[in-house]
Symmetry: C3
Amino acid sequence: MKLSYTAEELIAMLQPASTRGSTEDRVTGIAALSAAERGDLSFLGNARYKLQVAESRASILLLPVGFEGEPKVGQLYLFVANPSASLATLCGRIEQQLWPKAAPGIHPSAVIDPSATVAPSATIGPLCVIEANARIGPGSHLQAQVFIGREVTVGADCWFQPGVRITAECEIQDRVRLQPGVVIGSDGFGYEFVQGRHVKVPQIGRVVVETDVEIGANSTIDRARFSQTRIGQGTKIDNLVQVAHNVTIGKHCILCAQVGISGSTTLEDYVVLGGQAGLGGHITIGRGAKIDGGSSLTSDLEAGSFVKGSPALSYQLEQRINVLRKRLPELFKRVDALEAHLVDLKKTSAD
Amino acid sequence: MKLSYTAEELIAMLQPASTRGSTEDRVTGIAALSAAERGDLSFLGNARYKLQVAESRASILLLPVGFEGEPKVGQLYLFVANPSASLATLCGRIEQQLWPKAAPGIHPSAVIDPSATVAPSATIGPLCVIEANARIGPGSHLQAQVFIGREVTVGADCWFQPGVRITAECEIQDRVRLQPGVVIGSDGFGYEFVQGRHVKVPQIGRVVVETDVEIGANSTIDRARFSQTRIGQGTKIDNLVQVAHNVTIGKHCILCAQVGISGSTTLEDYVVLGGQAGLGGHITIGRGAKIDGGSSLTSDLEAGSFVKGSPALSYQLEQRINVLRKRLPELFKRVDALEAHLVDLKKTSAD
Amino acid sequence: MKLSYTAEELIAMLQPASTRGSTEDRVTGIAALSAAERGDLSFLGNARYKLQVAESRASILLLPVGFEGEPKVGQLYLFVANPSASLATLCGRIEQQLWPKAAPGIHPSAVIDPSATVAPSATIGPLCVIEANARIGPGSHLQAQVFIGREVTVGADCWFQPGVRITAECEIQDRVRLQPGVVIGSDGFGYEFVQGRHVKVPQIGRVVVETDVEIGANSTIDRARFSQTRIGQGTKIDNLVQVAHNVTIGKHCILCAQVGISGSTTLEDYVVLGGQAGLGGHITIGRGAKIDGGSSLTSDLEAGSFVKGSPALSYQLEQRINVLRKRLPELFKRVDALEAHLVDLKKTSAD
């Protein structure tokens, strides 16, 4: 983030309802209220931090209309309807500078099979490889060192960062954003055990990634045994996630980092998987279900559930058990005591 | 999977014992009985799905000899001794189309040290790098953007997919298949803590990968501190797996996705590790032992064991505990009640 | 490890206080006492293995001064003050052979933007990409197929192994060593849920990696939402580790393989995270705290703590609970028995 804005430039951009105070500082950074230094812009995104405003050293603060308080000398308050939304406006502007739109064209160092089709408005960066009959749609950007296999189709306005690999016959639809090192179309992990050896089951399916999907760095999506592995529209996948063969992921799901999904499992729409969660194979996770980070699950889950633990139970039950679990040493002692008392009682009653 | 077969072509290929019905449809896909649409081939691989045969919309079905039932209009049954085996035959044929044999030769964009040796029957694809004194055996295929370090030896008929990296002095034997992004020979993670800093312990060993090993996308195999990290013949490793320095993996093991194995641990032959399992360092897992997905283990395991949990216990005990664990809230209440009753009893007997 | 030393060469290098026995063998390997074969050098690094010395087949053994025992025929003992330190000296020598210093210069196949600055003493290997305005410091080595984004700064004497990717505006300080496939600067995973869709929150911060950091193969470090994700001086990170946006890692921390850290979490100095540990977001791990492998934690942790489990408890309590957990089947039976006895007692007292 290389930024440098004067107060006037920010006022012009964010159109505050009113201002209080003034500053001559250029804004060169953005930071939380408590971490901000002179030269930073900060913001009150959540009312529970309002006591931090008076302490903040930021040069400019985005505050909700009606906020009471006085800026320090050399500090400027900008009052806006929604500080988070104004911040998003600013960040969107900065993002365009961070990732300037690449000029269309093919870098001379790219290796492209003559049978491949690249839209004139696409950008193929240095040292990319595109194999036979692949098709790259309009506005798509392969940044550098990307591999596109035989017969792959890439839709419009995709962005593949350096080192993305997509193997033969996979289909990537529009506006798909792949972070560095993503692998799509690796073989599913399937073997038959025959006479003491694992014999490979051919993995002849492919992967279909629908529109508006994002996939994080070094995540891996396996091709299907046959038919397809599918990532539904608008689904967002974090880094180092494993999606096995024939998995079907619905629309608008969230998969946090290091999640693993075993073969032939289905996620319906709007499922959320916390980091490091692990799903067994051949199960169905119902619409909108949430699985807490680190949990593991090997059976179907009803729509709307929220589960946690290994194996996962309802979130509330797991939380209750985790409290009781800490009291196991005490429980064993109480049972010891009960047994001792009973022995005493028997003696007494035998007397 | 781009396929298109007429009924006649499939009959010629699969040689069914007999047929029933007929279809004019070309087969352009393969699908499970319940998922198949017109134009698909389906199959009865497991008798428990036999009721799905009559419902299936597939154009052609592979069924066991003796199966009773009538195809729909425009549907063809092929009766074979073993539908799964016939399907494998078909899939093997399709796999050859998916991954056509590369023509031998070196792509002009590859960067190969003059001291390296490449067998005339090997294929070195675009933008590969091969460092000094490396040797690539006959029939091996480096698809694209592969890195082969100094003094690496690669045997015959290997296939390294795009972005595979093998660092100096490692040895890859014959018919090894590496999925995209595999790293072999990264430094082991070893430091000595000296005067407040972690001082690197040189990692001067190497990695040996024996014949017929497969390693999944973005998995990492560290070089040894000294001597070697070794992956035994026929072992299959899934995606995003971590194998630390000086680990020895026996023959024909299975490591599912996201498994992590700490340094100097030994797996004897035929060990199976479920997804996300984690093994501590300096332990031995006996021949044929199975560790369930998500389990962790920091002590030796006897041959033939089947364990689960963190820390792992025998599978049966862990399953039993997982049932009882859910009843902890009830157990605490029962102990509360017992204590209350005892107080009552004492009062009564004191009366 | 390709090595070949005569006894005389090793004596000259390691300067033992005294020797016993003799060998004509060239040393071509290093191995633990019990694994060593003829031609290996071995060592007694830990007194508890001293009984293995007499059994060892190594040709040369590094032993502490004062060790009693007689070498076999053709075996040479070298007595040194600290066998581990002498071994480190030898390994350091071998390491220099394993990774010979690259000659400065830029490989003609590298693609470097004219506005980038490469120090004359730096080495840019084959098929690297360096984007606009990036700066590579003196003595730094980009081995092959490395990607350096726009405005990235790389300090002095760094070593980036093949396939490392560093995206725009990140800062890498001096002597940073990155294993193959490391990704630095991938987008943080941040979305707002608006009208049924996940809308991307711009990730406009960057990553700062301080001096003397090492990061393992295929690990991923996300750029900040704004401001920076920071890896402190001397911190060592193993393979396949995920560090999310706005994480701050202190100095001299250790992150073992497959660890995952969620967004905005802070590790103070000297924190140690065991393999596969998972940390929630927005928490602080105090100085010197240790989190055992496979544990998960979603709340702050005090300096100096040692915790284990999911959710993590004090190590001692977790170990105690893990013992008791195995006795749950027994505990349930004991409570059953207590209840039955109480019923009996009541009956008796009612009689």
